[in-house]
Assembly symmetry: D2
Homo-oligomer: 476 residues x 4
């Protein structure tokens, strides 16, 4: 009898990095930050935290687990006083050592206390880190985020805005950062604009969040995106924009539309739901399937629901609810003993036999990483009596790693990197398999505000990590 | 700043009572019971528990919270040894005093230890309880279930089967019971068959569960329902049926099809999904709406998804995903301060603006109890830009309390008991409102295996609580 | 590497059963009960609990662990409202099954809610329990205390006082009981008066507690003992005595003076400290040792301190602090790997080398049960350089089990039952060993208020368990 | 009803800073470190932690609370693998901000991971910290200890020994440091030797600990003190001494003998117990009291026991146990409502009436800080019937703050700084009050190995904090 607990969230999907939030000018700042983290929970379930400021001191609470676990104490808002707060939830990356990585980080420098929340990934963090270490800096976390704090603390510039501009010029890669001092919040998005971040307002409270769905929960008004390369300062005088002088070339992460962001969010100047619907439509357009070839379209809930509806609409094949997802399972469970490999999948999904039995089924999923979960789902769908199972993926094959904040398995574990499409089809046990083309992907999203990073599908990297040298290093 | 924690599960729906499970003949009996509770989590989120037997002693673990919380310890299976186990999860009813109500209950009587799990409600429990108290019995819980144990312990019959038959003859009302001794499990369903319960098998392991979806998770075979009035004994020689001699008249709870059961379960000889689909279709048939009157149909996820798909299919109005449900919220959250009444609804649901804006929307919901949540949802849908909002309910107005295991508010709080349909429409802020008729409801479910209880919609009670005298009382 | 946690409290001493408290007439009743449990913590460390009454409902909080663990929540008093409260802390006896035994027990009977706290042991509980079970009663705990509640609930008498009198007539053995209803507390001590219990007063608040040290902590006045066979009712009109009609023959547990009670308590009409001092003096008087035979007297702290001071005073041998006790160890610790048997002793005690080196040492201990801890202590004392080690025990050899509430190991494990005194001396590694005589023991305590039970030393049992038949049984 | 929880440990005593331990060369290194922390628990109860190394990675576990709380998980040793470990427990100093201060600290620098445990206080830490911050360093804790890590990381020296020598030359004040890298431990004691630290050995395992009592618990052999100014390296080749070139002038903290260290430890080349006994003897010698002036001597347990025995021996007045200490109280308790100021004292101590009643009592205590606890104790002793109460303090009046690791209240709160001795006597309510003289204090301790710091009594500071400039600062 083997009783290992397994994390049920670790399904076969890329992992997002984090959600960030900053609240300025509310008597309930910490509470609003905490509510925002609820709305951003899908961006990271490993840890959550809030740092608040009463204009004098900074107060921190952070811990491992879901927002509801970390902030279970109803007295918590009293413990995080003040009118300014930032928050963070994160998804884990494997940390070799036991240095604590929960954010926001809170440190003391010559100018006093400062805290930071970060979503993204710096491609030259390791190089800068080594430079800093050579100069005697010490690191208490394994997270790249700490590098930012070191750069801010070492900067010769007299004020935080210039320091942050300097730091974000030295750092290359993807970042949506929220930095807090005693009296202000600095929101900074990288010049490529990989990760989303937007501004909102509720009466006199100014807000910055990763996705607009958090503004909805706060009943706040969505104002606009923080633009690529822009720093926005939230202080007692309001919000102040400090754009990059040179015009940045945007490379928004297109996978945010495919999977990461919540469908009710607006990112990169578009509603996620609308883009995701078009992914499904374009998938149907590229396909040769219609209602004479299949009886029903089902989605892998909940992430593929919208694309499946889009596919159904365009193909004319009826949309059905053939898989039920169990939302009560918590974060870990005890494994059954007898090597039932698909148990993890079955505890999360069940088939609706009345819907599937005797049917030719199109299954729409948003992406395939290793293929293990999909293979098990198809087995379950067949067992429920489906006559045929045709898989349609609303994005292209993932063949290349992401250096900008998505957490894939290694290249060798990416199934599309190891097998042909027909081999994948055979592995997952489908009667047919089609992916959306990169072209179909790009047609689903708006282009008037800038371009997209498609590196995971195309291998075309906006910033090549290996070419990057540490600017900081050169300067010294 | 008010920081009260509120239970977010307490949305405006009737509450189911419980899920039960019994496992006989597996080296992993407690584990299988625990997995079954996962699958039955929708039937009760307040507490969970398992009692196991190694043929000699009985072992109990139970606690407040979700199955994943109560059974978080990976060593738990070792603490619940043996090849027999029963389990339970329950929904709370308000208990005036602090007697512990978590099940399974475990007690010692003259014949040794016995444990019990119960789904349902006895209409004459209070009368029997008073009789027992008069005779000197003491009660350690406020739950009706303890009454069963007293009746079993006091019975003059020499064996458990006859005792259980006697007890279930004295007790009137709804029950799906699982009783465990050192070496056997006794599954008993009331003669009216109000609540579901079915049998399954996995190799040499015999299983009884509230709903068949638990068998799917265990990868076990569904055999058949435990029939109304039947007692099934699971022991080392297999499963033994002991039907009621007189033919019982079935009154299966039709609300199980409307809302309680999981769509992937088979209850009362029918797949829930199929019945629920027909509810939506019949709702459309009774309606005068088609795609010229409305642009889209959306459901209140997840419980109304299937009915909404059925409505869409028959009305020809497109099915869309206009509301997103947040599944990460945990069981409690800290309330915002400024009297935002709809916060509890907003933390659970968000609107998809791109879908709703400028549209005439049909919202399908399965039922209305107080109407508060629906009123807030409609406000949110309008705020997202919907042009018109038409509400369609896939069951008739709830006008009467349930004495058989559903937990409604009091009669005065049932909106359909206090207002006309047009007044309800005005209260929830809809442009139009229609309910399914009782006739349309009954047409959606099969009748060859017996009738249904429709008391909450029709006021026609199969057993009138006030008329029932305690048979036990008369005998003494 | 073996990491088993071991309970460090389980030193080689008999275990007391419990402490009880009742508070009537204070706006802070639950708090005062909780403080009393602090003062009575030495009587039981396994669980703690309080039940309060606001005159209408009863409220319960109980849990495993020390008082400070169970009542860690500062909001707890608000959760236990009312002006009446009873409390309990208990020492574990091994429970075969997982029925919950934390007290006070709270049940509902025909006359409403009642709660009970119990210190002692009924010798005929099993027989009565079987009678009750034959009549159909069910038991939810393995504790004898539940039997009292059944007897109270079944009684034909109309009021609680008569019922309690009846129940305590049926029950034989040792008990200091506190029973609570909505509006009153009933304190009852068995006719033999085995266990202590006394009354106190603080302004308008009436109090009953196991030992007077709890009154000191409450800053309350000690009034008098609850007498053997007496029931005292605490209600809104004050305290009312209901003595037994026939004069009871007292058999107070003399081991309360030897070890159980706190030295600052007054029990059985005597200060524990004074009696314990005389035990040490009498031990010296019976001995042939003086300051030419030994250099120093040390105690095994803290329980033997007082007797050691008494011994020192009479023998003329200097009292020294040769053993230091570590009070921070908590309830469990992880064992070292390499079979260091004496680690559990070393984590609790350390030797003071400067005191012991080169000295002839008299070690005073209050009792020997298995002898394992003392053997290890003597090894440590020798290792610290003691020239000779002479052990003096301030009570006679324990040869017989206790049926009245002390928790010994089985008879076979009692070292004095298996070995001669010289064999014990050899086993523990002492140069000489002497016990106090039964005569010397009895001379140390007052006799004007009644006799003592010395069964564990003498085998003379005031009530022979095997002879007792259940009066209740006969009556029916 | 006010329910504030109060920390019961915060009695009116100076607070020690910390205990440290290092273990090299044991398969159970983390376990041995954890056991050592048990033995050193008296040096700090706020937090505990261990960092281990398997030669490759470092593993950390630390948390708030007692050692038994922080290390409750029996699987913990598996989570801290390796043959090298260091540990720490600390007493809190008030931290203005919420930066985490639990030790050992673990950081990554250019040379890899390193961890540190620290007992003591740097007088120039703030100056160095400001210098480091000016150069851009950031701090994640408010503890001085982090400064050491920064100095080590920034050092130009190629190896840890030289870096540590450099750092400890820059840093001024009191420190007993244990630094760990992947493969070695570096133990460093400041040139004044304020705080104790000693070396031990158990088979092939080399050990460094704050006090020798930890070696006893490990069954290890005490070798010798780490000498003032010495660095001892523990690595795979054994232990290597690196003394300071210039001969340091020792200023061992004499308060370690008075109160901090455990009586069974050997520090500064003397058994604590023996020195403490002489403090009591010298106190009696300076006094004019004998057995005609007082009936009994009692101590404030447990810290004053040894001095009281010494006083009793020399004065001829009988030693008695007049105060009982409750050791089960846990770390916090809920306060009673009605402003009972002495409740905190009463929950910790109770009087033994039989001992005190009608007696002239000498109370020996080791020190007076604010005087509040002693004032309450004297009130309790009088209430218990003492005829006269004479207070004798086994150290001189504390008039000056400590800059070397003791945590006093501010100068204004030191009662001996605000009142004359007779005023103190009146405030605490004693019939007479005498302190030991500084001369009597110094006569109680050995002088052949160096001198002592008596600053808190004499105001003579070995290092004047205000004169110290940061050497580091000068160099840059």
């Amino acid at each position: 009898m083997q009783n290992k607990s397994e994390n049920v969230e670790l399904l076969d999907k890329p992992q997002s990095n984090c959600g960030v939030v900053g609240i300025h000018g509310s008597a309930e700042a910490a509470k609003l930050a905490y509510f925002s983290l609820y709305a951003l929970q899908h961006r990271g379930q490993e840890s959550a935290g809030v740092v608040s400021s009463d204009g004098n001191r900074l107060y921190r609470h952070a811990g491992m687990g879901l927002v509801s676990d970390v902030f279970a104490d109803p007295n918590l808002p009293e413990k995080l006083p003040g009118t300014i707060a930032i928050g963070h939830n994160r998804y884990s990356t494997t940390g070799a050592t036991r240095l604590s990585n929960a954010q926001p980080l809170l440190v003391k420098s010559k100018d006093g206390l400062m805290a930071i929340s970060h979503n993204g990934n710096f491609v030259n963090a390791r190089a800068i880190r080594q430079d800093l270490e050579k100069q005697g800096a010490i690191f208490q976390t394994t997270s790249d985020t700490e590098v930012v704090l070191h750069l801010l603390a070492r900067s010769k510039y007299p004020n935080m805005l210039e320091r942050l501009r300097e730091a974000t010029t030295i750092l290359k890669g993807a970042f949506s950062l929220v930095v807090m001092t005693r009296d202000a919040i600095y929101a900074s998005r990288d010049p490529h604009g990989f990760r989303p971040m937007c501004l909102g307002k509720k009466r006199k409270t100014n807000i910055v969040v990763s996705e607009s769905c958090a503004l909805d929960l706060l009943d706040a008004k969505y104002l606009r995106d923080v633009e690529p390369g822009e720093i926005v300062v939230l202080d007692k005088d309001g919000m102040h924009s400090h754009p990059l002088e040179e015009r940045p070339q945007r490379h928004a992460c297109i996978f945010e539309f495919v999977y990461f962001s919540r469908p009710d969010s607006r990112i990169f100047h578009e509603n996620v739901d609308r883009a995701r619907r078009r992914l499904g439509k374009n998938l149907a357009l590229e396909d040769d399937f219609d209602d004479t070839d299949a009886d029903i379209v089902i989605s892998v809930p909940d992430s593929s629901n919208t694309a499946a509806v889009g596919y159904s609409r365009r193909s004319g094949i009826k949309f059905e609810l053939g898989l039920i997802r169990n939302h009560y399972i918590g974060r870990t469970f005890i494994q059954p003993g007898q090597g039932q490999r698909d148990f993890k999948t079955r505890v999360k999904f069940n088939t609706v036999k009345g819907v599937l039995k005797g049917r030719k089924v199109v299954v729409v999923d948003d992406s395939i990483v290793r293929g293990t979960t999909l293979r098990q789902l198809i087995g379950m769908i067949r067992k429920a009596g489906a006559k045929e199972v045709h898989v349609r993926i609303s994005s292209p094959p993932i063949t290349s790693p992401c250096y900008y904040g998505m957490d894939f398995p290694t290249k060798d574990e990416l199934i599309a990197n190891q097998m042909s499409i027909d081999e994948i089809r055979a592995y997952i046990g489908a009667d047919s398999l089609r992916y959306l083309s990169v072209d179909g992907l790009l047609k689903a999203v708006p282009h008037e505000h800038g371009g997209y990073c498609t590196a995971c599908f195309s291998g075309k990297y906006p910033i090549l990590p290996e070419k990057i040298k540490s600017k900081y290093d050169l300067e010294n």
